[in-house]
Symmetry: C2
Subunit: 171 residues, 2 copies
Amino acid sequence: MKRIALDMDGVLADVAAQFIRFHENETGELKTPDQIAGLSEIQAFPYARKHVFAPGFFRTAPLLPHSREVVKKLSEEYEIFIVTAATEFPQSLAEKQAWLGEFFPFIGWKQMVFCGNKSIINADIMIDDHYRNLDQFPGFTILFDQHHNRHRENGRHRRVFNWKEIEQLLL
Amino acid sequence: MKRIALDMDGVLADVAAQFIRFHENETGELKTPDQIAGLSEIQAFPYARKHVFAPGFFRTAPLLPHSREVVKKLSEEYEIFIVTAATEFPQSLAEKQAWLGEFFPFIGWKQMVFCGNKSIINADIMIDDHYRNLDQFPGFTILFDQHHNRHRENGRHRRVFNWKEIEQLLL
């Protein structure tokens, strides 16, 4: 059974929507997807560092469309590990685990990895929205399209725009 | 630079001492090292499951002798990752990270991995006190002696009894 290392933020959890909401609460300004395309998180949301430390930021993030149903199907044919960069924001650890428990109850604690640097991950396939994680991964790499990775060459990574595409690609 | 995946409980943190203390608080009975040699945690401490969910269990665990000074020296010649099974006990995540921050301030968040199943770990050397983690690791394996792994064959693992031995072995 092949193993997939599956990122959370920007792949399962719609943190861009969460940044837009927190930014609007902070400034009154509603950013559109077009405005943030091609911008890093800190470029798009000047208060991003404040938001990610705010209680509830990770716990209340919305789900990316179709992520749950496709991950459930993938679980039948692949060994799934959720691998998320979390140790930079210690308060996010409990929030992320509770979030997974709510939206992905079929993912057990043995399948969760909270880390800082994903070069430690041993898997066959990685699905992530950050080049820094995919570039150092030796296996098959799927780049989940997000505002911060748009307008860049895909390189060896396969870019997908939504979970239905992942379903077609892997199932 | 070779990478070491370093366990926390039973390798850096003296959880056996912590179990002895919590067991005494629970029952009034003081267990000696001889009494628990060769016994699993649950055999040695019938309330182990209760203890590991008790607030403070991981946060207040004592340090194993010489672990800090030797890990500091190892950091100069190896890439160190702390890899700890934590997701089974969600409340332990924050406690473990705070504990590392107190006793190992030179270990950054990028070097921490909180997981459930260590088969996901890609490293050259693993230091752990559990066969289940070492047996599935393809690299060089060091078994840290603990009451629950005593009286078993070492197999391909190199058993060490203290941190001074690790220093001699790896430096």
